[in-house]
């Protein structure tokens, strides 16, 4: 089965769960006065769930015929591309999200930029480290000092 149909299957599942919530569970706690309204909080989701189920079924069953285009990247030959780098960068983003608060902006960001470059194959440490540090400092100064948006600069245990 083609990837677009697998995705349609997942979307169908999402729409069924969404529809089930809208049709059967959402109105349980509705206040009595709201039940007299012609529209309930579940009305719009109910309509959407029907459209969603129909559209995903049309894709899943291949009712709409069209050319099977391969996009910019052929997902069937992912190993021919730099898949490992892409996965590592996504994991690095997750790590950054988890470390941003406990380790502070300055450490997390400079580490993110350095490790990101390393993953992509950069080995010139004399360039990589100063670039990451200067960029981190510049962004922190711009965001925190110029724009006034708080970004905890140092790790949490330092209390700053």
């Amino acid at each position: 089965m083609a990837l677009d149909r697998w995705i349609a299957l997942v979307l169908l599942g999402i729409c069924i769960v969404y529809g089930y919530t809208a049709w059967f569970t959402m109105d349980g706690n509705l206040a009595p006065f709201m039940r007299r309204n012609p529209i309930w909080p579940s009305t719009f989701p109910k309509v959407l769930s029907i459209f969603g189920i129909i559209a995903s079924l049309v894709i899943l069953l291949g009712i709409e015929k069209g050319e099977q285009k391969i996009g910019e990247i052929d997902h069937r030959r992912l190993t021919d591309y730099f898949l490992g780098q892409a996965i590592l960068l996504l994991l690095l983003m997750v790590a950054y999200a988890l470390c941003l608060r406990p380790l502070g902006f300055l450490f997390s960001t400079s580490a993110f930029l350095m490790i990101g470059s390393l993953i992509l194959g950069e080995r010139k440490f004399h360039v990589l480290i100063p670039v990451a540090l200067i960029a981190t400092g510049a962004v922190w100064y711009l965001v925190q000092e110029v724009l006034g948006i708080f970004l905890r600069p140092l790790p949490l245990f330092l209390g700053v």
Partner: protein, 495 residues
């Protein structure tokens, strides 16, 4: 109108706003040249900055400047490296890149700058003339018509998805609408589909979604399939165009600016359609000998899409400013910014906050002029940015994507959501699901439900569809827009 123009000029020409538009154009141009960051992503990145400015006029002027700058920046990478950062500049690479390869990169960039300037300026003039007219018509619209109009906008987006992709675009639109229902609705004040998670109480952040659906997949695609950035810059020193060449492109620019503007006004059309259509029209009406030059470095083939896409970008501001309906993914993000700035987009904007409305229009003129003046001498230098090694460029793109989402919500959970949605966006892109309809559906979803609910309450049920003729007409138009491409595709196959 004159009073409005004066108000707009007064606001746009203040020192602060002049600096803002210049800064916006420069930022847009520089970042717009970087593959992976189209106008949509750049505007999404700049929204937190704009919101922090506090003044809605200045914020919108900044975003308009960034928008124009980003489009011009995208054209630069299209012409020099055949690497269009956005769909709207793909047509510019058809003839721009061959020109660069022939050692006419400077000339190509000059034509692109002049065509963009002319397209943007003519578009702004048309916007001044037509926006008030559309606005007065829009005042006749009630919540029922607004609901129907949003359905038209959404269905038009689906119809532009190309043959065999209409259902996918529709699915993405519905998914966007579904995501918009997560959290507390404006009318009901009840948490919906939050699964008890407190962070979802206020729904998904639109910046997070915009980053996840556009910037992140583009950056990851650049990792998967590296492009040789900065290798084929060509000779970009000679910027001069001859009088004969100027004479040849002038009517092309005039025609395509007008055509592009009106295409841009249509919800769902926008710069991509305008640029392809402009290219096709000029190729078809050109003399036979010139037709053969198209695709091999024709100056007309470059001027047409450049002027059309800039005019279309200006045109897309008409439904945004007068009706509150985004005509493209980028204006959908701008709409989100307007709402975040407590500016209610729609017909009342011109009446209630004329300084904002007219300042944006005036800033378009100033922005276009600034772009032309600043970019021509900077062309040889700004192109060098593309030579930043991929090993440094990509981590920075990813970092700015994360920062955009984090600064917008100041919540680390948003970053995890960003990565999660980003992975979904990559999978959807692999399977050729169009992503802009998802974002437009998400942004329009809340307003659509509000108008739908209001109409249902006013009319005691769905009878408003038949009791208000305009609503019925608009819904029928929407049905045609959904069905026509499918029928056309089937007829084409039979033939």
């Amino acid at each position: 109108m004159l009073e409005g123009i004066l108000i707009g000029l007064q606001t746009a020409l203040s020192f602060q706003n002049l600096m803002v538009v210049i800064g916006g154009c420069l930022i847009g141009t520089f970042i717009g040249m970087l593959p992976g960051l189209g106008p949509m992503s750049i505007i999404a990145i700049m929204i937190p900055v704009a919101i922090t400015m506090g003044d809605p006029s200045a914020a919108l002027i900044l975003l308009a400047g960034v928008y124009y700058g980003a489009i011009f920046g995208g054209s630069t990478s299209s012409i020099l490296l055949n690497a269009p950062g956005v769909a709207g500049t793909v047509a510019s690479s058809f003839d721009g890149y061959p020109m660069a390869r022939q050692g006419k990169a400077g000339k190509a960039l000059t034509i692109a700058a002049i065509a963009s300037f002319a397209g943007g300026t003519i578009g702004a003039i048309l916007l001044m003339i037509f926006a008030p007219m559309l606005s007065s018509v829009a005042l006749l619209f009630h919540s029922a018509e607004y609901f129907a109009l949003m359905v038209v906008g959404l269905s038009a987006i689906a119809a532009f998805a190309g043959p065999g992709q209409v259902t996918k675009a529709l699915m993405m639109t519905v998914l966007g609408l579904i995501m918009a229902t997560v959290g507390e609705g404006a009318l009901f004040n009840l948490p919906r589909f939050t699964a008890g998670i407190m962070d979802l109480q206020s729904g998904f952040g639109f910046i997070t979604l915009a980053m996840a659906m556009f910037a992140l997949p583009e950056a990851i695609f650049l990792v998967l399939k590296p492009k040789n950035l900065g290798e084929d810059g060509g000779d970009i020193k000679n910027l001069r165009i001859s009088r004969a060449e100027a004479k040849a492109i002038a009517p092309v620019i005039g025609r395509q600016s007008v055509q592009g503007f009106f295409i841009g006004v249509l919800p769902g059309a926008g710069a991509t359609i305008a640029s392809f259509l402009g290219y096709a029209v000029e190729r078809n009406i050109a003399p036979k000998a010139e037709q053969e030059e198209f695709g091999k470095g024709s100056i007309k083939g470059l001027a047409a899409p450049e002027s059309a896409n800039n005019a279309a970008c200006t045109g897309s501001f008409v439904p945004l400013l007068t009706l509150g309906i985004p005509g493209s993914g980028t204006t959908a993000i701008l709409l989100g910014a307007l709402i975040a700035l407590n500016v209610t987009p729609g017909p009342r904007l011109m009446v209630d906050e004329p300084q904002i409305f007219w300042a944006v229009i005036m800033s378009m003129f100033i922005g276009n002029l600034v772009l032309l003046i600043l970019n021509l001498p900077l062309i040889p230098y700004i192109a060098k940015l593309l030579a930043i090694p991929r090993n440094y460029l990509i981590p920075f793109i990813l970092f700015f994507t994360l920062m955009g989402a984090y600064i917008g919500q100041n919540n680390a959970t948003e970053l995890l959501l960003l990565v999660g949605f980003g992975v979904c966006g990559i999978a959807l892109k692999f399977a050729n699901y169009p992503l802009p309809p998802l974002l437009i559906g998400f942004i329009l979803g809340g307003m659509m439900e509000d108008n739908f609910s209001r109409s249902m309450q006013l009319y005691g049920g769905p009878s408003f569809i038949f009791e208000r003729p305009m609503t019925l007409v608009l819904l029928l138009v929407a049905a045609c827009l959904i069905l026509l491409p499918t029928l056309r595709a089937r007829r084409g196959k039979k033939a």
